[in-house]
Amino acid sequence: MDVRNGSKTRREILFAAAGLVAAAALPGQRASATTSEVDDLIKAIAGDRTIAEGKIAVDLPSIAENGLVVPLNFSVESPMSAGDYVRSVHIFADGNPNPQVATYSFTPLSPKAAAQLRIRLAKTQTVTVLAVMSNGDVYSAGQEVKVTIGGCGG
């Protein structure tokens, strides 16, 4: 039988204490969004369409030492012609106070549905990239980023 049975481990106690400190530091303010909030945002864009995997390449570090500046590159496979192009790309971060990061809208004048940017991540979380094609098809890709120093709040 586990000798620790019934009592919290040291790690659990430390995590609980850290949580209390974090809660005290942010009275009345939301520390982070939730995954269901991201699901709702995705649903608002995709509607009843099935969300497929693939077509999107997301380049994010798996570990970000500084959550204030996290490089994000995305690229969506598409001929980018008048009849077949990527209409929009939506970026969400489920662990930020506001899960919306950016929305890029493309036109057939864009040679590539791709961009490089720098984003803030408040803590370790999953970044989701959603692409909507000109015919209405929706694709999604996600990646977890471990954040050592958070990027929101002071």
Partner: protein, 107 residues
């Protein structure tokens, strides 16, 4: 804090060539989540929109939220179909607009 955006792109291109554009603009991108020394929330003040046009036609646009890092850097691609003017614009929460124009000569 009025600042001039910095844009790096070639001045000449071959017809139909895909050009990579790199942009950088100084802006604190105040998220609205931070507090000052007295515990008061510092109001949000960000660039909320970016657009790129060629001879007046939109190439791409972006809606930005407070999760965009301070001094926003961006890279993307455009195509030079003919000699013309690329205009890049950043829209501030306070209503001001930062603009940068670039003529590309197609040979």
């Amino acid at each position: 804090m009025k600042s001039k955006p910095r844009v790096r792109m070639p001045a000449n291109a071959k017809a139909g060539e895909i050009i990579e554009v790199k942009t950088l603009i100084s802006h604190e991108m105040e998220s609205g989540q931070r507090k000052d020394a007295n515990g008061k929330i510092i109001p949000r003040h960000i660039l909320n929109r970016f657009t790129a046009t060629f001879n007046g036609n939109e190439i791409l646009s972006a809606e930005w939220h407070p999760a965009i890092s301070a001094n926003p850097y961006q890279a993307f691609s455009v195509r030079a179909t003919e000699t013309g003017v690329f205009v890049f614009s950043w829209f501030d929460d306070d209503g001001s607009v930062y603009r940068s124009e670039h003529t590309v000569t197609v040979s």
